[in-house]
């Protein structure tokens, strides 16, 4: 039987890189889709608004695992066979988009309504209003919850191990199956996750404090 030593630990550390890459890619794609949905959710056209609201509600009300399976098998049924990494990124991006859309909708709505009126009275188009007046303020407000959500995302990347992609959790499982030293293996895995997530949690809380300080003036 193999024992848990340096080679195994290095294998886990390398897998942590994949977790980070998965997080980065799904966040990048998810934020594009999520941003679009946030704006659609606030559209003046009722149909668009309801569609976005429905999308957000559905994705937030089903497990991430189901989002993963649905996009994995759904894509293969229409004939697209993606390698596990892309399937995983795509489905995580769907999950990310729904949560970010909701967070960002809240941030956009919390910009005072007078800002819209002021911008309109300067003859800005809706696009210009977003670009020059609303978004610069909304982005500041959205920073703490967005970073907080990033922590959730890092943790939820662990679920994609089920489609066979070797990221941090899957690496831990593989090493555990070979060594049966669950405590050491999963402690190391947990420590790595903690080392990624804890600074982000702290940053989120710090940003929240900074924002509150600036708002109370």
């Amino acid at each position: 039987m193999q024992t848990f030593g340096w080679p195994e630990a290095m294998f886990i550390f390398r897998a942590a890189g994949w977790t980070l890459l998965l997080t980065a890619i799904s966040f990048a794609i998810g934020s594009l889709i999520g941003g679009a949905f946030a704006i659609m959710r606030l559209s003046r056209i009722k149909l668009v608004r309801n569609f976005a609201a429905g999308y957000i509600l559905v994705i937030q009300s089903i497990p991430v695992l189901m989002v993963l399976f649905m996009s994995y098998y759904g894509l293969s049924i229409i004939g697209i066979e993606l390698p596990p990494f892309f399937a995983a990124s795509a489905s995580l991006a769907v999950y990310v988009s729904a949560y970010l859309a909701e967070i960002w909708r809240g941030s956009i709505e919390s910009v005072p309504y007078q800002q819209w009126e002021a911008s309109a009275s300067l003859a800005h188009s809706p696009a210009q209003t977003y670009r020059y007046v609303i978004l610069p303020q909304a982005i500041r407000i959205s920073l703490p919850p967005t970073v907080g959500f990033l922590v959730q995302l890092v943790k939820n990347t662990s679920i994609v191990s089920v489609v066979g992609f070797v990221e941090l959790s899957r690496a831990g499982q593989l090493v555990n199956n070979a060594t049966f030293q669950a405590f050491q293996v999963f402690s190391l895995v947990a420590v790595i996750y903690f080392a990624i997530c804890f600074p982000l949690s702290r940053l989120s809380r710090h940003l929240e404090k900074v924002m509150n300080a600036s708002r109370s003036h």
């Binding site: 089903i62 497990p63 399976f69 049924i77 662990s158 555990n176 405590f183 903690f194 804890f198």
Partner: protein
């Protein structure tokens, strides 16, 4: 797409639904109890108790549920504590939800004005009595919406327990899929079931919040608004 082979296995899916409900309900009750105890410890006991509680909360909040599950399911037997998949799932869910709820309820307790504590103490109540009878209920009422969404998230996260072959809804789905080879159909049905369960739980928790905290919370204000309209 053929749904018939999947629907033929509806027994298995119904059993899965039942286990998901039982696991989630137990975890919510136990996790909440744990959270109240931890918040009490943090508020009433000394500084060290607070540090220990905070460390526990941070540890649980910054590691994935899956790894916590593996740690308990594969790790504890090495210490001689053997448990079935369902027991490990329930324990993990309780510990996980307990940590999140501790953080939420703590925020609620801290939002209660200091004068409430002082008023209680000036009526010759002990600090524990003040916490129990004066602070806890309004604190709960204030954070009930946040707590509710955490409960729903926990119900959804229970799907991860299928990783250690617990046959809750997702676990049942995996078996149905293997028997019927109808992956997409199986997961469409199961996803819809999860959707219905999550929405029902949301509605139930909203109703429960209004029942439990009629006068204090923003929930009753929503009611008043609805009546006025």
């Amino acid at each position: 797409m053929q749904f018939d082979p999947v629907l033929a296995e509806s027994d298995l899916i119904l059993k899965g639904i039942w286990l998901t409900i039982v696991l989630s309900a137990s975890a919510i009750v136990l996790g909440c109890t744990l959270a109240v105890l931890l918040v009490a410890l943090r508020t009433l006991a000394g500084r060290w108790a607070g540090i220990v509680v905070d460390a526990y909360v941070e540890l649980m909040r910054n590691t994935p549920f899956l790894i916590q599950l593996f740690m308990i399911f594969f790790g504890l037997p090495l210490l001689g504590i053997r448990m079935s998949g369902v027991e490990a799932a329930l324990l993990t869910m309780t510990l996980n939800l307990g940590a999140y709820s501790t953080e939420i309820i703590r925020a609620g307790v801290e939002s209660i004005h200091k004068s409430q504590f002082e008023a209680g103490v000036s009526l010759a109540m002990t600090r524990r009595q003040v916490f129990q009878y004066v602070v806890l209920q309004p604190a709960f009422a204030r954070v009930w919406p946040a707590l509710s969404s955490q409960f729903v998230l926990m119900m959804l996260a229970s799907s991860i327990c299928s990783f250690i072959s617990v046959q809750e809804l997702s676990g049942a789905a995996a078996i149905v899929e293997q028997r019927t080879f109808r992956s997409f159909e199986t997961y469409i049905i199961v996803t819809v079931v999860y959707l219905v369960m999550a929405l029902s739980l949301k509605v139930f928790l909203l109703w429960l919040g209004r029942k439990l905290f009629p006068q204090v919370s923003g929930l009753s204000r929503l009611d008043a608004k609805a009546e006025a309209a």
